[in-house]
Each structure stands twice: as structure tokens, then as C-alpha cells.
Point group: C2
Chain length 340, copies 2
DNA sequence: CCGAATCCTGCACGCGCGTGCAAGAATTAT
DNA sequence: ATAATTCTTGCACGCGCGTGCAGGATTCGG
């Protein structure tokens, strides 16, 4: 028989098997896999050798069941049209994994599906739910936190009024003031603000801050426009409808967009539908600094959130035992490019 | 006391609690939550009412532990720079969830991390591992499938020579023949092929098919170029280095890209570094039909994979008990736009 | 070399649910 | 009304590991 020398790991190898092979008890085997457990170097070595030979890895389901700690978080996303989501997912999963956390990705189909998605997460007994979608309005949040099925409910990259909810986000007011000031000092006169869907309390601060700033400095309220999703394609459609056919002097000289997704669609419309130039005819600003707008094509003036710091802080939140309010806001910085 | 009428679900509500409340045994409770279990409508109703009152949901960890079926898959991704990954993740998570499967998203940092990532998945005892990265070369796959820790190892949207591996992908040869024929009939003369990283057997068929087709029809081998990642930014850098400074007649008249990510960077270079027009001076084709290239800006001629059908088939693969080879290839279709 | 402090190791019990079977209840046929 | 079916329900046992403790092995000071 040309069998492998290593006995084949048919079926599940359990800690008991390893214990037998290593000549220790099962508990010693599990200790060998725990970070700072009290175990002698010799025992650990023996165990690890036996484990490798048998192809044993601890079963995290059983560990989680026994300890009531899963080291698993659910990431709820409902907004895949926004390229920024890809950046966030990459950053979050990378940093979470670095610290030993696994991520359950739940595609929340829409607002009506939010509860099902949360249910989904709770069935896996995740240690926390992280929301990076837009459709989670205050009502959904209230329902979710009321059910108390989650130890932690975290809103990432967005603020929320809801109690029982931890918000890790950039300071929208500070950020938008920086952008507004940039726009003003560059001498623009007729700005338009392009907002995303007005889900309750979502990114409302950005719009309000800009409008308030402008009114304070010029006494006039800028024109605004709204798109129902952070989707470049949809944004382009809306902007085409809004701007096409206007006489030159009825057009804004700068369009301040709530984020890059909207800005991309806007730039496309300015160039290809209106036949105008960016920024000479109409300038554009965004928010998020997604990779797509960093090239020579869009070259968008935008605002960068400190995503890595936010993700690292998220980990400390996950590991915190305290019951205090762990919400925190971060400051990013403007990234000037040629679009404005 | 202004307490809720519903007793508060402090701590974990277990099936026993529900059983007590509903006046049945624990097993009847669990049966009520099983799809087609033999249980009377009356009992189920009682159980469900009690469950809702107590806020009970079955614990999938325990269920998985007891049944050795987790209804969980791990999705390993290592290539977040490629916007197509966002599309795939959205489609896969949506369709998997529709059929009752949860998704563990594992960010595979690089080739050396592949084994750790797989380990990660195996600790959660997932029912299958789905690979949509590029760094999983044959060696990694062999190691993974040799360990036999996974019931199923699935390569999505890519072929693989490895046995013990299920590949669900588009037929690269057929696809590239379609593109090549399109290029030829449009009258292009000096094509260049832009390939991605040459991880073993990855998308090699596309390149080889195109080169073979061209040689067969014109007797000449087209120029080729290679980028180390499916990253528009990196592609732009490479193409700028390659094309800048060439006299007009030394430039290709069309650049056939292995996918859209490369094509986007290429178009940016043609326009902004070379100052030329697409498609008049140099045409471009892509692969994948990502949303970003559908607008008026890139308007890329590309190839669309039947992602939904592929994802649905993935589910049937997951649910299949058979041991036969479940690999299957799909045919997509070319999407002609203005870039070529 | 002895006693005390320190370090390791083994163990009973429980985490919440699935499996397969057997007994009980409800239904139908005779 | 009784027997034969079918439907419904309860249960012992196990899935693999964590917790806290107690006894044994080891080390150190004097």
C-alpha cells in the first residue's frame, strides 16, 4: 500500500485524537493552542507536533459555543454600487483579521430586508454587528438595538443619533467646513450641492454644514440636488436631467458632491452631456478619495477619511468590556487635485 | 415600573425556555424552526408565538456542531483593487443568502498568506471554500486540497487544472475567440495584448487564445505586455512606461486587455499621457463589464460573464451530495460599445 | 536537604442543538 | 366500534471545547 506516512485525516480530527497521539490530556491540547495559557514549552511542542501530523485545528464553533465569544463580526452592506464600499471592506477585513476577528459579510438587499439581515447575524451569535450601509435608518436601528441580541451595534463611517449604538465616523461638520472654505477661497460663486439619499440622519450634516456656511458668508442659499443612491450611474442620470439645456449662466460653477460616487457621475455628465470642461467650466469636489478618482481622468479634489485609524479603533471597541459610550469621531483631511 | 410587557431577553434565550413557555418539549421547538419537519400546525404556532415573545432564534453554531453542516462558506479574496471583485461579492452574497447560505469574507493578503486564510476558514468548519482571488496558484491549491479539511474547494470565475477542485468559470477560449474575431472584422491591424499577472494557469488561456488566433490569421505574433496586478492604477503606470515616447506608427491601433481593470488604466494613459483619442487613435477592449466602464467616459467594448447563472450554479454545487466532478464552464457574450 | 511558593496538568460539567427511534395521539378503514 | 395507519411527540446521547478548581510536579530559598 502506498499510503501516506501521515495518517490520513479522514473525518474530523478532534483534540482527543491529538491528546492520545501526544500522550497528554485533551485539555493540554487545547491549552497548547491558546495564546497565553499555562503550559510547559515541552508539552506544547509535543502537542503541536502531533497536531500537525494529524492535521488538527481547533473547532471555533465549539469554542464559541462553550465560551460565548465567537470572535466573529457581521458586516452588513447594502450599497454595493458605491465603490467606496470596496475600500471599506478591504480595510475592515484586513485589520479585523490581523487582530483575530473573522467577518461575516451580509448583503442587505434593501430597507425591508434589514431585519432579516440582522436576524441572520444573530443566528450566528456574532460578537458585534457592523453597519456600513445607508438604509439603516433610525427605525431599523431602534428595532435592532431593542432586540438586544447583539452585544455591540456599530455604525461605521456614519453617525447615528440612536443610543445603544456605537458610531465610528469622520467628523462631517469639520470635514465639510474644510471643503466649503476651500471652495470659497478658490473664488467659486455659484455652487450646487449634490446630496445622496436622505435616509434619516445619514449624511445630512454634510449638506447642512455646507449650506449654512455659504449662507453665512454670502447670504444666499446654494442650489441643491438629490440622488437616491450613491451610484455613479444614477447620479449621472439625475445630473443630466437637471443640467442639460440650461443656459451657460444658469449653470453652477462648482458642484460640491456628498461623495465620490456622485462626483464621478457628475463629471461624466459635465464632459459628455454638456460638452464642458472640468474644472474650467464647472468644478467638482467629492468625498472619500476612492481609487477610481485618483487617476488623471477624474483627478478629483476630495476628502480622505482616516480609514485605517478608524478600523483600528473599531478593534479596540470590539475588545473593550466597558459599557460606556464608545462612539468616536475622527478628522480626515482634504486632498486637493485638479477638479476644483 | 415602566417595564416592557414582553419579558426582556436578557442573556441567551434557549430552546428550553421557549419549550417551557409553549408547554412542549425542546425538540418540538427546534422542529418548529425546521423547514419540513413533521410537526402539527397547532404546535408550530404555539412555539412561534412563544419564540417571538421571548426573542428566540436558533443558535446556528450549536446546530452546525451537532449536524456537521454549517451552511457557511468562506469567500477568499485577495484582489480588492479590481472593481470586478465588488460585483462578484455582491452577486455571490446575494444569491447565497437567498438560498440560506452565509458568507465568511476572508481578505487574503497575499500569496504567503493563502495558507493562513485557508486555516482561518477551516477553523470555522465552513462547508466550502470559494476562491475568487488570483494568488491561489496550483501549489497553494494542492496544499489546500491535500489537507482535505474542506468538503469543497471552489474556484469561481477562473479555471484550474487542480483535481479535487471545482471550477465555475466562463469559457475563456470561446470568449477570447469572440473578441479576437470582433477585433479582426473591425479591421484592426496592430493589436497589443495586455495581460495580468501570470500566476500559474490563471487567465493564461485568454492571452494564448488571442495570440494563436492572430498568428493563424495574419502570421504575425502581436506585441504583449504584462501588469502584475489587476489594478487600474498599476496598469496605467505600466502602459505609460511602455507607450510613451513611441512614434505614432510604433503604437498599436488596438489594445486588447485581459480585463476591464487593465483597460481602464490603459484608456487613461492613451488620453492623458499620450494625448490621443479612443478609439480613433487607439482602440481598447476589456473583459468583465464592470459598472465603471459602462458610462460615457470609458464606454468600453467588453465581455460579460453570466455571473448570476454562475452564482446560481454555485448553489447547486454546494447542495450537491455527489462526488462527481462538478466543474462547469459558461458562455458569456461580447458587449460592443464605442471604445473599439 | 526540607518546606514553601510556583508552575502544570487533569477533570466534571455545561454550551444549544441534531439524530434516530419508540411510544403516544389522531386519523382512517373495515 | 375496533384495528390498521399515519402523524406527532419525547428522549438519550453526542458534537468539540471552555471554565474553574484541585492535586501533582517542579523550582527556589535557606
Amino acid at each position: 500500500m502506498a499510503e501516506d506516512t501521515t495518517s490520513e485525516p479522514m473525518g474530523n480530527v478532534t483534540a482527543d485524537d491529538v491528546a492520545a497521539a501526544a500522550g497528554v490530556s485533551r485539555w493540554t491540547v487545547n491549552r497548547a493552542f491558546k495564546k497565553d495559557a499555562s503550559i510547559s514549552a515541552k508539552s506544547r511542542e509535543k502537542v503541536m507536533a502531533a497536531a500537525k501530523a494529524l492535521g488538527y485545528v481547533p473547532d471555533l464553533r465549539a469554542a464559541s459555543l462553550a465560551s460565548d465569544r465567537s470572535n466573529l463580526v457581521a458586516l452588513l452592506v447594502d450599497d454595493f454600487a458605491n465603490p467606496h464600499k470596496l475600500v471599506m471592506m478591504e480595510r475592515l477585513t484586513r485589520i479585523l483579521r490581523k487582530h483575530g476577528w473573522d467577518t461575516l459579510l451580509v448583503n442587505t438587499l434593501g430597507r425591508d430586508d434589514a431585519n432579516d439581515a440582522l436576524l441572520n447575524a444573530s443566528q450566528r451569535r456574532v460578537d458585534a454587528v457592523i453597519l456600513i450601509g445607508i438604509q439603516f435608518d433610525d427605525e431599523v436601528l431602534r428595532t435592532a438595538s431593542h432586540a438586544r441580541r447583539f452585544k455591540k451595534l456599530i455604525i461605521f463611517a456614519r453617525v447615528s443619533q440612536n443610543p445603544n449604538t456605537i458610531s465610528i465616523a469622520v467628523d462631517d461638520v469639520h470635514a465639510m467646513l474644510e471643503i466649503a472654505e476651500y471652495v470659497r477661497t478658490k473664488g467659486y460663486q455659484r455652487p450646487m450641492f449634490l446630496a445622496g439619499p436622505r435616509t434619516v440622519s445619514a449624511h445630512l450634516p454634510r449638506k447642512q454644514t455646507f449650506l449654512a456656511y455659504w449662507k453665512e458668508h454670502f447670504g444666499s442659499e446654494p442650489e441643491t440636488c438629490e440622488v437616491e443612491a450613491y451610484d455613479p450611474v444614477l447620479a449621472a442620470r439625475v445630473m443630466a436631467d437637471t443640467l442639460k439645456g440650461r443656459p451657460r449662466d444658469a449653470l453652477p460653477d462648482i458642484i460640491v458632491c456628498e461623495n465620490d460616487a456622485l462626483a464621478m457621475g457628475t463629471i461624466d455628465v459635465i464632459r459628455h452631456d454638456l460638452g464642458l470642461r472640468v474644472p474650467e467650466d464647472i468644478a467638482v469636489t467629492g468625498f472619500d478619495d476612492v481609487p477610481q478618482i485618483q487617476g488623471p481622468n477624474y483627478n478629483l479634489t476630495t476628502y480622505r477619511q482616516p480609514l485605517t485609524a478608524m478600523a483600528e479603533y473599531l478593534v479596540t471597541v470590539l475588545e473593550s468590556q466597558k459599557d460606556e459610550d464608545l462612539s468616536r469621531s475622527f478628522k480626515g483631511h482634504i486632498v486637493p487635485r485638479t477638479s476644483a
